[in-house]
Symmetry: C2
Subunit: 384 residues, 2 copies
């Protein structure tokens, strides 16, 4: 059978599957222990009432002949694309219009699929440490030899280094998963400048922008920076903003100035996608209403309180910590040269607390550990 | 910019986008004319009450802290995978188990994405005429030179010919879109035999199996045939069965006997997908309840009555027609050597009726025209 040979170049276990395996083994051995997870970045609060209400109405519409809807536009209903521009862009920039917004069922899908638009031999720059999807989706496509890692170091607050030499595509994520740090305007401006000079494209993952608390030092959207709309594609999600991890909705912004990419990303869903559930799109639209946005803000504040608490308490006990100020993630430096999987196992077996080993995000993550603010408040305090 | 060069090998306009363009132009020129569409294969009846009820409950669960769900399993909740096996497979075969079912947001996505699991140089066989996604997704992947077309001819009731020589992957669709014809057991057995002898994989699209009325001559699932579970992957959808075109749910069955494909298709969603909306999965589960399946059957019967009517009336007026017996599509042979786009334009401009030109499905579709039974009954009668 002539299979894709590059699937065999992937790490054997997807990071979170491996964590699940170890937690399951612990649970089997100690079924009475209560496990607290500060591991996978999954939300825990219920959906905003505005989204629940809107989806309840939409479900009823689908059961009524007069209001039933079949196939929707592959790239999303105009009502949601317009709401996104009003809610996500107009407060920061007037550069983005609704026909540059593509609604999808998740940023993981979009980030994973976007690489298809580039040639097999293009050169890719990816930060280290980083969310594994950028790397894995390019490995699957056979670009293992074309990947440059941009090292992110503690001494530089985990800001990525510029690529040495010419690359074609650069993945950036800010506020960052896993380090919880946010790019400052100056660093990002350097990348935009690099991209313009090198005809490179920046794929900017902004899934955590709702967690920004210091807008004076970091950007809600990359399009706040001059020239970004000529070189950057932006990925955003309702998962962490509105608790949609189990509901599934996101969007990707491809400016028309990136003309071929805009045309190709318009074409791809025509062939390989059939749009997001109408019900879900109505739920997403509702978070941009006055009530919806207030409700969503409350949940984000709750998670940020957790992240701040983790950061403050660990720092107060002498640990070195990063993140947790503009992101729901705290990046803990491990003491005593412990490896991150050793620490994972110790923390699980001694304290029944789950986190994410830094090395799971790349070699530069070794010696670090990711904790999330997405847990329930009392459990988070107990774990800390 | 180093872009995927194969996007430029795609036909300029996706078939249904081109149809929409011409219909929009007609509407602009004659805004008062009522247009009847027997064109795109989209359902028109509202969702089954059982699905509406289940999704209403699921939406409420998501708004409640005690029942809220975040990320689900990438390949679907066990409750739906088990319901699928009970509802779709056990009545016909005991060969398929829940861990061979992968829940997705649409067959178009699955059919479009599955080719990624094969090598770039594998040889692909695709029927002509055919649903455009099989061809276009392989063109995008750069396999334009590796494609063999399996001609489907009128004199053979549009059954595909076996490939000459060795191919690695064969796409089949039965009941067929666009011809509306269904494969008989003997023809399909020959393909399974070919696949076993040539180490080929059959990608079997069974999106329309709910429309089968002659189970004695055609299969509900390919796994009714001996040996199919060693060579075949099956795609099925809730779109046409339960009217989920705007709700989005489908599944792909990859038997464990196809061990590497099973492993790769397990791995792909871990990297590039995050599961189907919980709300939608509850809706899909509900169509397998006693009430749900009766309600869904009623809608399918309604569409089949339309298809039968189209077939019967056109045949009665001396036209040569295919399909419409085990599928919602009727495949009309055009008289007088008319091209299928000429007929499209004539039908639109003279009668304000929309269908789909056969040539849009491949060169062998020239001289034919697809009509669907998915319309409203009175409008369908008027159009005929």
């Amino acid at each position: 059978m002539k299979l894709n040979p590059y699937y065999e170049t992937l790490p054997e276990n997807y990071l979170f599957a491996e964590i699940r395996r170890r937690v399951d083994a612990f649970r089997a051995a100690a079924p009475d222990k209560k496990i607290i997870s500060l591991g996978i970045g999954d939300v825990t609060l219920p959906l905003a009432p505005a989204a629940v209400e809107a989806m309840t109405v939409a479900v009823a519409e689908m059961g009524n002949a007069a209001t039933f809807r079949g196939y929707g536009p592959e790239d999303g209903y105009a009502f949601l694309r317009e709401a996104v521009v009003r809610g996500e862009y107009l407060p920061y920039t007037d550069k983005i219009s609704p026909d540059e917004i593509f609604i999808s069922d998740g940023s993981k899908c979009d980030v994973g699929n976007f690489q298809e638009l580039f040639s097999d031999d293009c050169k890719i720059a990816i930060c280290d440490p980083v969310y594994p999807v950028y790397l894995d989706s390019n490995l699957m496509a056979g670009r293992g030899k074309n990947i440059t890692l941009l090292k992110c170091r503690e001494e530089n607050n985990f800001m990525p280094e510029l690529p040495e030499g010419k690359v074609d595509v650069i993945y950036l994520c800010s506020p960052n998963n896993p380090t919880g740090t946010a790019m400052d305007f100056e660093t990002l401006a350097k990348f935009i400048d690099y991209a313009r000079k090198n005809e490179a494209v920046i794929l900017f993952d902004g899934a955590y922008s709702a967690y920004i608390r210091h807008p004076e030092r970091t950007m809600h959207t990359i399009y706040q920076l001059p020239g970004a709309d000529e070189v950057a594609v932006e990925f955003k999600s309702f998962s962490k903003t509105a608790g949609f991890t189990g509901v599934r909705c996101a969007f990707t912004t491809v400016p028309k100035k990136l003309s071929k990419l805009h045309r190709y990303w318009t074409r791809r869903p025509c062939t390989k996608f059939n749009g997001v559930s109408y019900i879900v799109q109505r739920g997403a639209e509702a978070i941009y209403t006055t009530e919806g946005s207030a409700q969503v803000k409350k949940s984000v504040d709750y998670y940020m309180d957790n992240a701040n608490f983790i950061r403050r308490e660990l720092a107060g006990h002498g640990f070195t910590v990063f993140g947790g100020e503009d992101a729901p993630y705290v990046w803990l430096k491990l003491p005593d040269g412990l490896s991150s999987w050793e620490f994972f196992d110790t923390l699980l077996n001694k304290c029944a607390v789950v986190g994410t080993p830094g090395v799971g995000f790349g070699q530069m993550g070794e010696g670090f550990f990711r904790l999330t603010g997405f847990g329930e408040k009392a459990a988070t305090c107990e774990a800390v």
